[in-house]
Amino acid sequence: MDFSVEFTREQLEFAEEVSAWLDENMPADMAPIRDAQKMSYEQFHKRRDFARKLGEKGWLYPGHPREYGGGGLGPLSGMISRELTKRNESLPIVTDWVGLAAPAILACGTDEQKKRFLPPMLTGNALTWQLMTEPDTGTDVANQQTNALRHRKEGEYFIINGAKTFVGGLHPPPEQFYLLTRSDLQAARHRNLSSFIMPANLPGISIQPLDLFPLTTLGGACGPSGATMEAVKNSVFFDDVRVHQSYLLGDEGDGWQVTMATFAVEHGGGGGISRNYMSDKFFDQCRNNPQLVKRLRDNPNLLDKVVDVYLYTQTERLLSIRNAGGKGGAYGGPHFAMYQKVFGSKYAADMAEVLGPYSFTDEGEWCLDDGMFEVGQRNSIAKAPGGTPEAMKIQIARALEIGR
């Protein structure tokens, strides 16, 4: 076995190339914004503009096929986010939702659809929100109440009515929606759905931001790309929205298959090795915050809590290694993502115990690490984004061949 995570010479050389390019092309004033809910319209678009610049080089989605606007870079692709991460910028801001729609298009779209939809998405020109969740549709994704029904006379058009919620991100509207709907009121469950990839500015569409206190789930928000679109969620309302059938993704009635292709990517954890930035910062505090160092030396019980956090985060890392290293594992369920969600709130509690009430304040002289821990604590209660642990357990049980 080999647990080393060293880069090849080729990768390191490419990293230098990326770094040099960034020195030249990355605008100033892109310092991280810990609480993304506070990102202004200008700050947001500065990041989008930069993403387009990355997109021109194929570096926004470096792993996606080059013919559709990706970088086709294979094992080199990881270097780009690594170099971005080093600079600790709140980037790449436009990738998150495209990241889910693009694989669905690659898996289920026609050649024509791939050529039409992917390039603007992969070059950062078509910000695309995924619209699945509805007020009555959470874990039970198949239970869509938003209807996309064929127009009675102009049969090549669909008329969409309904509401989506907990979707999208900062500063609407985006360019596109990736939308799941019910398109057949009679057909059986799982056969009554259709997916669309469609413009977001059609008449009858309205968007309303929600006032939520967590930003995203624990892992996500604490990284350098914490300030992503996930920071703000919205409701989207469809009121007799007229959409041409050419925006259908997959055939009419194929919505469930398209969705499953999306989930396989969303819940799989992506195959990268987990790095938990919040716990990194936490251990830094334990080593370097003089008051804390003193308390931990005097109070072995508190130090034992630090060990708890260590064990949780090591388990998280080891499960992500299993995910990434793949073949040695016994099954392919989203075990890592589920663990991170369930135990994220457990180690958040331990961190708070150790750090004291400093964990909860996010501004001023007495806040730690620019309020990172307060944001982390808020996020630790959010388990829904990207799929609830319950939904993941359903998948894991299926992978273990005990669940349906």
């Binding site: 708070a352 115990e353 009430p357 964990s359 909860f360 304040t361 001023g364 007495w366 209660i381």
Partner: protein, 379 residues
């Protein structure tokens, strides 16, 4: 055996009155608005609470209160915890009053307690410092004797309700060379004194906590509560009595969260049935009930021991560990059941999440109390 877990008639009335008050005067939109203020108060709410006698509930009649047992105060604060109602009710009416009762001279009690009971003065404890701890060893604020007056210097952090308070009880070191708990004195400091500055320590989860800077604040010798250098013991005793009332407050929060979660799990439908039918959801709720029940009964047992003068130290520590952890965990689990709709700042669940976090370390975090239990177990 005379085990009896029922409320007395008086307690039932207190409870009902408090719940009616919340429903009528402090429904969820009021609570949400109060949370965002620096005082957690409106004049009307304060006036009503004073009229109902809540500020003097544990203050003896000779000092203008009603002198109810601690258990009754627990019942009241359990009910208020279901809001949860913001405001300095606990800080002033319970904790500070108990400190004055434990530490003050007869004269000080006669002078200080009636205005607390009438709501004319709002007093809060300013104890913890940058080296955050509920143990005495880390107090660095000093009070230096100058011609019979004292000059106080230091920084108090995470001071509850400091903006609403008219006065602070400040723990300061009057003797440097003594041991950890010796040489500490308590002072009543007017919030308007020169050298006092108060600023909020912001954060959605932080609650109403403040930095209180004391820069060469001059107070008269008469501002000292009780004896010089001897402030720690009565302070500890007062905190020991106040803790289970705070625990009751958290237990009330747990109960409210469980009720809203049960209700939601009965009406929210997924996969064609109420989510409460799913074993995974049931197990989360069963966990919540276990946590909350243990916290509630540990709390009332501690109160009963205190009211009957039985040795209560161990029970008080137990109640604080269980209730701090329960409230935290009940909210976390409830968020998992509510998912998206619980994340809204308008959701009453979020009020409780906020309270469960902001009260977690207050009067000692669980690991502190666990340590105390450990020492008792091998004593």
């Amino acid at each position: 055996m005379s085990l009896d877990l029922n409320l007395t008639e008086d307690e039932e009335v207190l409870r009902k009155t408090a719940l009616d008050f919340l429903r009528r005067d402090a429904p969820k939109d009021v609570v949400q608005r109060l949370q965002e203020t620096n005082t957690g108060l409106t004049d009307e709410l304060w006036r009503t609470a004073v009229e109902l006698g809540w500020l003097g509930i544990i203050i003896p009649e000779q000092y203008g209160g009603t002198g109810f047992p601690l258990t009754s105060a627990g019942v009241l604060f359990e009910a208020l915890g279901s809001g949860p109602l913001p405001g300095p009710y606990f800080s002033s009416g319970i904790l500070s009053s108990l400190i004055i009762l434990e530490a003050g001279t007869e004269e000080q009690k006669q002078q200080l307690l009636p205005p607390i009971s009438k709501g004319e003065q709002i007093v809060t404890l300013a104890l913890t410092e940058p080296d955050y701890s509920w143990e005495p060893g880390l107090i660095e604020t000093t009070a230096t004797s100058v011609n019979g007056d004292f000059v106080i210097d230091g920084v108090k952090l995470f001071t509850m309700d400091a903006e609403a308070a008219t006065q602070f009880i400040v723990a300061a070191r009057t003797e440097k060379e003594s041991g950890a708990s010796k040489g500490i004195s308590l002072f009543l400091v007017d919030g308007k004194s020169d050298g006092v500055s108060v600023s909020r320590q912001p954060g959605f989860l932080s609650g109403r906590v403040f930095e209180v800077k004391l820069g060469s604040v001059k107070v008269p010798g008469s501002a000292m509560l009780g004896d010089k250098d001897q402030g720690w013991l009565p302070l500890q005793q007062a905190i020991g009595k106040a803790i289970p009332i705070l625990c009751a407050n958290k237990a009330g929060g747990c109960q409210a969260v469980i009720e809203m979660t049960l209700e939601y799990s009965r009406i929210r439908v997924q996969f064609g049935q109420p989510i409460g039918r799913f074993q995974r959801v049931q197990d989360m709720i069963i966990d919540m009930v276990t946590h909350a029940d243990a916290a509630r009964w540990a709390t009332y047992e501690a109160l009963w021991k205190l009211d009957t003068q039985a040795p209560a130290t161990e029970s008080v520590h137990l109640a604080k560990v269980l209730s701090s952890q329960s409230y935290w965990e009940v909210c976390t689990l409830s968020h998992q059941v509510f998912s998206g709709v619980g994340y809204s700042r308008e959701s009453p669940l979020s009020f409780h999440t906020r309270a469960s976090r902001s009260l977690y370390h207050y009067l000692g975090e669980p690991s502190y109390h666990r340590q105390q239990i450990g020492q008792l177990l091998i004593a």
